[in-house]
């Protein structure tokens, strides 16, 4: 089953008294355990599409099914619980909680999911080890470099073993060397944990690593290239 299915999804924003179309007639299926990139120029609708897939925004029309669940039918609390269980987020600005240590940031989604303490600890330590930050577990985000913060964010996104990880321009605030390392890390984690990753990016490094590339322009999907197609 495909982890994400979008049927005839449309979304517009209202700026002052003007309707601005953000997405129109989006039909898309994200294949499981793939590294999918939403690509397009600024303002093309990548982030809006990612927000809809991540259930943090609602479309004006259409249908969205994530992990088999028609998410538009869920009420706010149920949707929050669904996100906590099924979706991991990686943000462009890392968005770690500054008052929590690296360990606590990774632990937080597990607390929301009410994971038992012993299991929680094992999971956090294993993820911090996997992203190469086992020795920085007690450091707060302010004591970490940009690359290290994004590694913590990756570990946090994977903490609850989600069906889907969404990353909005995850390398945009990193230098090319660090960005490349982060992409490699995400690729490695995606393969090892068999998780579906969806990015929004126009970074060539990210595009080069993608299994599938969904091109968007002016709120419409212009092309879907899947690795099988490329090969």
């Amino acid at each position: 089953m495909n982890p994400v299915i979008l049927n005839k999804v449309a979304k517009h924003y209202r700026l002052d008294s003007v309707d601005v179309p953000a997405l129109a007639d989006i039909n898309l299926e994200i294949h499981p355990q793939r590294f999918t990139v939403l690509s397009g120029p600024s303002g093309s609708g990548k982030t809006t599409l990612l927000n809809l897939i991540g259930c943090v925004d609602r479309p004006d029309s259409g249908e969205i099914i994530v992990a088999g669940e028609p998410v538009l039918a869920l009420k706010d609390d149920a949707l929050s619980d669904f996100r906590a269980r099924r979706i991991g987020f990686i943000f462009q600005n890392f968005n770690l909680l500054p008052v929590l240590s690296a360990y606590e940031n990774v632990e937080y989604p597990l607390l929301l999911n009410k994971t038992p303490p012993k299991q929680r600890r094992e999971r956090v330590l294993s993820l911090l080890d996997a992203v190469g930050l086992a020795d920085r577990a007690r450091n707060r985000p302010g004591q970490l470099s940009g690359g290290q913060r994004q590694r913590v964010a990756i570990a946090r996104a994977l903490a609850t073993e989600p069906t889907l990880v969404l990353a909005d321009e995850p390398t945009a605030n990193l230098d090319s060397h660090t960005g490349d390392a982060i992409i490699q890390l995400m690729r490695k984690m995606q393969r090892e944990l068999k998780v579906t990753f969806v990015f929004s990016s126009h970074d060539p490094q990210v595009l080069a690593e993608a299994d599938d590339v969904v091109s968007i322009r002016d709120g419409r999907i212009t092309e879907i290239r899947r690795q099988e197609d490329v090969q």
Partner: protein, 463 residues
């Protein structure tokens, strides 16, 4: 990482703002507690004064309180000694009692006939030893050094008068009363005392006065039980200020047997009140209930009733009521300040942490979780502010109480130590602390609600 811990860390994140808010709350709590402690002290001080002078309760003839104060003959308690015995020996009341003593109040005319002056007075006949024991009552541990009654150890015909009485009767000189200006205008002398009154006075004087005694004397004229005039010649041993001018201008204190002889002559002596002092003020309801039961059964031969000190001294309720009103006014003002201070702090926190709110919501925290987080921060501010406020109040109260400051309360003639009663006032401390926390939670509620209602996408986009 539970909500409480996260809220605490969020507060510590911006120490300067949190400290400013805590300072406002602490000053608020200190203001409330210090004024509350002062008002409490006034309350206890007044209560102590009333209880030391007239007891917690008084048994009086029915309607004496309303109609009988000038008429001891009609409203006296005939079998007062029997009543006292019954009260003292009652198994329920006995453990609560410290003193049970009769008092006779009478109205009359005090005269210094030698100087040709007189004035209306109110005499109070007491048993000196009982009154001295009553003055030892100090249930609230005031730093008091009770003075014995000036009548202590004096002859049966002795009297103590208010300085106002001494002034009018031109006795300031012989009694060495300070600050006692003499009238500049000559007082017009009235007609001489009627011959029969003058004869009575002379008779008393001849009977009682020791030939070598040089103490000034006054004549106290009162109506006896049959309405006829009677005179007692009293040796004035001292003039004492009574605090309130109206009372000071009227007061004549004398030994109970002397007062009884003046009013009742050779007939059965009576008392106008039986003052009952209890070990603790909190025993008043139980003691009153028991006394009412006794008055309705064992002591029902006479129409008697019981009044407590608050009823007997209406100014007590007025003064404590006034302080309660001021306290309430201050508490409301402080509450409003805290409300806006915490509300402002939390509103700023919501704006500054908008992206964090979006992040928390995105990774699965419910709206209720966001609301809980900010309300917990408000609660913590309230709790820490309250604890600091209580500690600072206790420290300041200690300094005030040991600073040697004094003041003269209304109705007192002598200055008393200025004390602020915070330590041990558990209900006031807990009430203030809970009040502050409730106000802090209420003021955090609105920003918390606004934070919870933020749209995730908008919050994540916030710059």
């Amino acid at each position: 990482m539970n909500t409480f811990k996260l809220a605490l860390r969020n507060l510590l994140r911006n120490h300067r703002r949190s400290l400013t808010t805590l300072l406002a709350m602490t000053i608020g709590a200190v203001s409330i507690l210090l004024f509350g402690g002062y008002a409490r002290n006034i309350n206890y001080g007044l209560q102590t004064g009333y209880v030391q002078h007239s007891g917690h309760l008084q048994i009086q003839h029915k309607d004496y309180f309303l109609y009988g104060s000038g008429n001891p003959a009609a409203y006296g308690i005939r079998n007062y000694q029997h009543v006292i015995e019954v009260v003292k020996n009652d198994p329920v009341l006995a453990p609560m009692l410290t003193v049970v003593t009769p008092v006779l109040s009478l109205g009359g005319i005090g005269g210094n006939f030698a100087a040709g002056v007189s004035r209306t007075v109110v005499g109070s006949g007491v048993l000196v030893d009982d009154q001295n024991r009553m003055r030892l009552w100090n249930d609230y541990d005031f730093p008091l050094h009770p003075k014995k009654l000036a009548l202590t150890g004096t002859a049966p015909d002795s009297a103590v008068i208010g300085t106002g009485v001494a002034r009018v009767l031109q006795l300031c000189g012989p009694l060495k009363v300070k600050n006692c200006p003499q009238a500049q205008v000559a007082v017009a002398s009235g007609a001489d005392a009627p011959s029969d009154i003058a004869a009575l006075s002379d008779q008393e004087r001849v009977q009682d006065a020791a030939p070598t005694d040089t103490s000034p004397r006054i004549e106290l004229l009162a109506a006896n039980a049959h309405g006829a005039p009677n005179v007692a010649s009293l040796k004035v041993v001292k003039a004492e200020s009574q605090g309130v001018k109206e009372f000071d201008d009227l007061y004549v204190g004398l030994h109970l047997p002397q007062a009884q002889r003046l009013v009742y002559g050779a007939e059965q002596p009576q008392a106008t009140a039986i003052a009952i002092q209890l070990k603790h003020t909190s025993q008043i309801p139980a003691a009153t209930a028991r006394l009412d039961a006794l008055l309705g059964t064992t002591l029902k031969s006479e129409p008697l009733e019981v009044h407590d000190y608050a009823t007997l001294n209406p100014s007590y309720g007025q003064i404590t009521g006034m302080f309660s009103a001021i306290f309430g006014f201050i508490a409301i003002l402080i509450g409003a300040i805290v409300l806006f201070t915490v509300g402002n702090t939390m509103s700023m926190a919501v704006v500054e942490r908008t992206v964090e709110i979006g992040t928390l919501r995105a990774i699965g925290l419910r709206r209720g979780g966001i609301r809980r987080l900010f309300v917990t921060e408000g609660l913590l501010l309230g709790a820490i502010g309250a604890v600091l406020g209580v500690l600072v109040s206790l420290a300041l109260a200690y300094l005030v109480n040991h600073g040697g400051l004094t003041w003269t309360p209304p109705g007192n003639s002598d200055p008393v130590p200025l004390t602020v009663r915070v330590w041990g006032e558990v209900p006031m401390i807990i009430g203030t602390a809970i009040g502050l926390m409730v106000v802090a939670v209420i003021s955090a509620w609105w920003p918390a609600r606004r934070a919870a209602k933020l749209e995730i996408v908008e919050a994540l986009r916030h710059v």
